[in-house]
Amino acid sequence: MTTAADILTSESYGNPYALSHLDALEAEAVHIFREVAGEFERPVILFSGGKDSIVMLHLALKAFWPAQVPFALLHVDTGHNFPEVLEYRDRTVAEHGLRLHVARVQDFIDDGRLRERPDGLRNPLQTVPLLDGIEKGRFDAVFGGGRRDEEKARAKERVFSLRDEFGAWDPRRQRPELWSLYNGRHSPGEHVRVFPLSNWTELDVWQYIERENIELPAIYYAHEREVFQRSGMWLTAGEWGGPKAGETVERRLVRYRTVGDMSCTGAVDSDATTVADVVTEVAASRLTERGATRADDKVSEAAMEDRKREGYF
């Protein structure tokens, strides 16, 4: 009956009521979900099928148990998704009786509102369909899985991040955030991005996945895959535009540390086949997950900051 299993030994910390760091982070994230449910009209969870959005959904399910999650999901589909991830997404939506909105980059390319980039990267093209999806759905709060440990512009992001009618992030206009008092007031046309995992690290996310026994798409674990090397990363060979002439395909044992668009998300060499293996691997890694796996962050010193100003997460 009691949650004695969540308590630390009093010998270690002198306080039988101390919470483990995962319990403290979970309590904070759940508090954030409930604040948004209490204060906004039409919140939505940005759901990519990546591990951070899966952890967000898991927290939302716990936050409102035994009721339904009172939010819809929004997926920005780059058109270069991993099939395992789409399958996971659709199965999860059905299992929990959720509503899913999809904003497709391909639709915007097809009708000329977006143009394919020469480098084939589609992550930078997500912003326009994202903002369009937010406007069409009249969403006033948008949950994102962004974490402050990911990147230095994100280190200065608020939990409640106010965006203007262009979705733009202005670091100088952000409100000071004190205690656990989040100010979500916004004008018509504006919306608030909400980051319940702000204070989590990559290792916390994996430890939580292990503790809660959360299922992930299989590509997060080591598997054999046809890959080729570009910019020091292993990219999946496929119809999205790789490999080019001079790039050789080989079969390697890899896993993904992040899951985004296939055109810019790299796999890492790994033999971690279980969540416990991954926790060990992440704890020992000498590279950040974005540094190891994201081509779009290497464009310039302020690549993420620039994209956030344009309305990206």
Partner: protein, 432 residues
């Protein structure tokens, strides 16, 4: 307490159950704060190879030979271009014993606002001084802000000991002066540590130059300082965030009140008062995120079921023990955060826990000079970075605790009614 509360946890056995410590650093670049933060992250192996590479490249682009660790924390283009820090940056690192969240607050004009923000969630504040200069006006300001925000633990890091020949008397004199000042502010716990962030003395590794110092290194102290208060000493406070009513066949009559315990311990069977209505009932049961339980404590997020069908909604406070008397008259110490000044007669919104009400500024009895602690009576207005006392009248009653007693149910924000700007951070009761 039943003995089962003391059993080791499965999480602890698998090595993942470490406690979380939130702390803030205060000091300027001149005191070596960036170097200290860089040293903590670097020596605890929290800076990863690609981050160090990025800093090294950026330093070389600026014509610097050695990697400038300040570039790790100065995240935004505007900050790097101007060589300043705009905002509080949050840093994350872990040792085998603890996970840390560091609020790194900058030391320029907006200083007070940023330090107040960083200190509001901190359980420990590191105040940095230069051993050659000792306690200066800025040090007293840092100590005052930590005391004002009721940060339970303060560390005085006496830096640049290498530049005073690692001399004990220099350290002892600074520590003595600071201790006396902190005591006068009511800071409950001060630990002074002699360090050299540049040379690495007593930050992570013990110093080979200061045999006379028998205390912990800064990191050892951060790893062992008690985290959190003992909730069993505090009355339970549970602000209701959301009412959960599934209305499903399986949970037809379920009605639960979702929230995060602000303080104390709540048990099934406890008599409670719902505020501001004053209605009383008992706790029928508690659900901790999907699991039924009979006990919960701060800061857990839980769902509380009540024995009686009474009117409870978002913004109400479920309280056990001595309940606060709801009031429409609020006397508080505030830190003004916005360029728009706060004046007598201003109509604002007041956000307290999960309740937002309209309020009028009735009086500004005094402003506090944070450097001297002198009170300047009846100021015309409170400007950005000012600390002062306000008297407010609210449109609806609020169940307030004094901030000195409860940092959650004793704190509030003032918000601009027109555009939603956060104007002011408030702490119920007298300062210090």
């Amino acid at each position: 307490m039943s003995t089962e509360l003391h059993q080791p946890t499965p999480a602890l056995e698998s090595g993942t159950a470490t406690a979380l410590l939130r702390f803030a650093t205060a000091g300027s670049v001149d005191d070596g704060k960036s170097t200290l933060v860089g040293r903590l992250l670097h020596d605890s192996k929290s800076i990863l190879t690609d981050q160090l590479e990025a800093v090294t490249t950026a330093s070389q682009n600026r014509g610097q030979e050695a990697p400038d660790l300040a570039l790790l924390t100065d995240g935004l283009r505007a900050e790097r271009e101007q060589g300043i820090t705009i905002d509080v940056a949050y840093r994350y690192f872990a040792t085998a014993r603890r996970r840390f969240i560091l609020a790194d607050t900058p030391g320029h004009v907006q200083y007070t606002r940023n330090m107040v923000t960083g200190a509001s969630t901190a359980e420990l504040a590191v105040v940095l001084v230069d051993a050659r200069n000792g306690v200066v006006q800025q040090t007293r300001r840092h100590a005052a802000v930590a005391a004002l925000l009721r940060v339970p633990h303060v560390v005085l890091a006496v830096n640049k000991m290498d530049l005073v020949d690692y001399a004990e008397p220099v350290f002892a004199a600074i520590a003595e002066e600071f201790n006396a000042y902190a005591a006068s502010l009511g800071v409950p716990d001060v630990t002074a540590i002699p360090i050299s962030a540049l040379a690495g003395d007593n930050v992570v590794e013990p110093s080979a130059h200061m045999d006379w110092y028998g205390g912990p290194t800064l990191l050892e102290h951060l790893e062992t300082v008690p985290v959190g208060s003992d909730p069993s000493d505090e009355p339970a406070r549970f602000p209701v965030q959301y009412v959960i009513r599934p209305q499903s066949a399986e949970h037809l009559d379920y009605r639960g009140y979702a929230g995060q315990l602000a303080s104390g311990v709540l048990r099934a069977g406890d008599p409670v008062t719902v505020l501001p209505s004053g209605l009383t009932t008992t706790v029928a049961g508690i659900d901790v995120l999907g699991k039924q339980t009979d006990i919960a404590w701060a800061p857990q997020s839980v769902t509380v079921r009540l024995a009686d069908d009474i009117d409870v909604s978002r913004g109400d406070l479920i309280a056990a023990g001595a309940a606060p008397e709801p009031t429409q008259d609020v006397l508080a110490t505030v830190s003004h955060l916005h360029e728009r000044p706060l004046r007598v007669g201003d109509r604002v919104l007041l956000k307290h826990t999960t309740r937002t009400v309209r309020a009028i500024v009735k009086e500004l009895p005094y402003r506090i000079d944070i450097d001297t602690l002198d009170r300047v009576p009846q100021p015309e207005s409170l400007q950005v970075n000012d600390i002062g006392q306000v008297v407010l009248r609210t449109a609806e009653p609020l169940a307030l605790d004094r901030y000195a007693v409860n940092r959650h149910t004793g704190s509030f924000l003032l918000i601009d009614q027109a555009d939603g700007t956060t104007l002011t951070a408030g702490m119920v009761g007298e300062a210090f």
